[in-house]
Amino acid sequence: MNAPAQQSSDQREANDQRESDVWARLATVSDPELDESVAAMGFVDTIQIDATGEVQIGFRLPTYWCAPNFAFLMAHDMREAVESLSWVSTAIISLRDHCNAKEINHGVGAGLSFGDTFPGQTAAELDKLRATFRRKAFKRRQELLLRHLKGADMTPQQLCAMHMGELATLPLEDDEALNLRARYQEIRGEFGGPAGEGDLAFTTDSGEMLTPDGFGDYLQDLRRVRVNAEFNANLCRGILQTRYGETAEE
């Protein structure tokens, strides 16, 4: 991309706006395994935008061996998310320093499926994998919110009986709590049965009611999922920082 040597301040502002639009879209793309955005994890390190609306996005992962299936999903989702911006003509995603960078960049660029990107080497498409990890994300977000509300002196009885409408209007004070609630509300419609205002806020992923008696065991069961995801996220951040000497957001 050849940027003119001098840009008017209007052009600069427009470019800054475009770049922040791209970051905002990238913030919606998750590493499915970690349920954290590729932007927050520090995976994306370059964004270049040219006058025709072509966006080039460079990213790299904590290791040369990070799972190709997840790398593919992230690259695919980034392309889709960024191309949803009206001014973007095309988004070119390039993964680097990875054992399958070439195949993944080609596959995502050409709009191929994972199976067609690695012909003869993979049996299944990635929908099932994505669904598995989305379900884990539900459990983790639910556990974090339940734990927080429990810590704020809500009883298992109250939590088991709470409706979506009540959850939405709970007077939460700090940013952390607001964020936990928003993230849970965002995913609740995908799991746990109907999610209208009058439906229970907290059900199992398959939509079963929670009971105050079983509440402790239920939380303990969810903990596993959260501890695993947090452990992975910590490992990824640590190794990414060692590999590239940069710090991701905590």
Binding site: P62, Y64, A67, C99, F118, Q220, N228, E230, F231, T242
Partner: protein
Amino acid sequence: MFKTSDGEEIFVIDAHIHLWDARPENQRNVHGAQFINCFHNYQKGLSPEEYHWSTEKFQYYGADTLYEDVFVNGYADMAICQPTYLKEFYVNGFNTTEQNAVLRDKYPNQVLLNGAFDPRDGEPGLDALTELVEAYKVTGVKLYTAEWHGDSKGYKLTDPWARRYLEHAQGLGIKNVHVHKGPTILPLNRDAFDVADVDDAATDFPELNFIVDHVGLPRLDDFCWIATQETNVYGGLAVAAAFVHSRPRYFAEMMAELLFWVGEDKLLFASDYGIWQPKWLIEKFMAFEMPEDLKAETGVDLTLDVKRKILGLNAAKLYGIDIEAQKTKISAG
């Protein structure tokens, strides 16, 4: 031997060490170079700074340095060599049974040697396994289900050939099967982090012990679930243990999970040397106390007795080691 401040002695078996050769002349391709770089980043990412090594030392440290780091300074009384062949990446292999045997032959009272097999070697591989067990007298094997092999980028323990190999290994007297389910090498065609195949294999081979290295990370949640179902599934703490330094809170949360689901009798301390050194891992592990909130929530604790089991007693049981007799042997040299 680790001695507590009260003078109590803790017998230590490090369940996972390597003696590898990743020098440039042994690297077959870019994958070999990237593999050792990745390991080195794990070391630098999670060790205290004074335990970071130069690239040269990390690529090759040799038997004498290993002995010094693990047995002289590292408190280990015994250690188990787990081979990692990686012949697709390294000319003579990365860390083979043959390479590790040098160490065992030099220190037979302190080094336990494991072998390996790859079910994708088919019929000839079965004979090779027989020869390996006879030549090196191993009672355990280390399996990398994610290892690349020709066009294959991984296999499962439930594959028909894997079952044949397990049957054959059992017939040869193998008792312990260490399965690498963890970070660093990735299959393409399957999610080899999926630990479900261990569940099935453990059910079908109740006489064998399955030690899931790296406690199934990054699938700790699935591993915990399986380990509660199967009495012959154990967890090796390599990688996980290193968090005691850089992320003690997560280490605590993870240990609480493991103690709750898997239990204190089924966890094995492991350094993954040369990635991490047992000296600091053990010092920090011994000094570590389970936070009160986690104790209250999960009902588990990491007491001295639990630490003693994890650091040595559990591995001793799996490998049939009589600790008192072994102490005498070791001190007699």
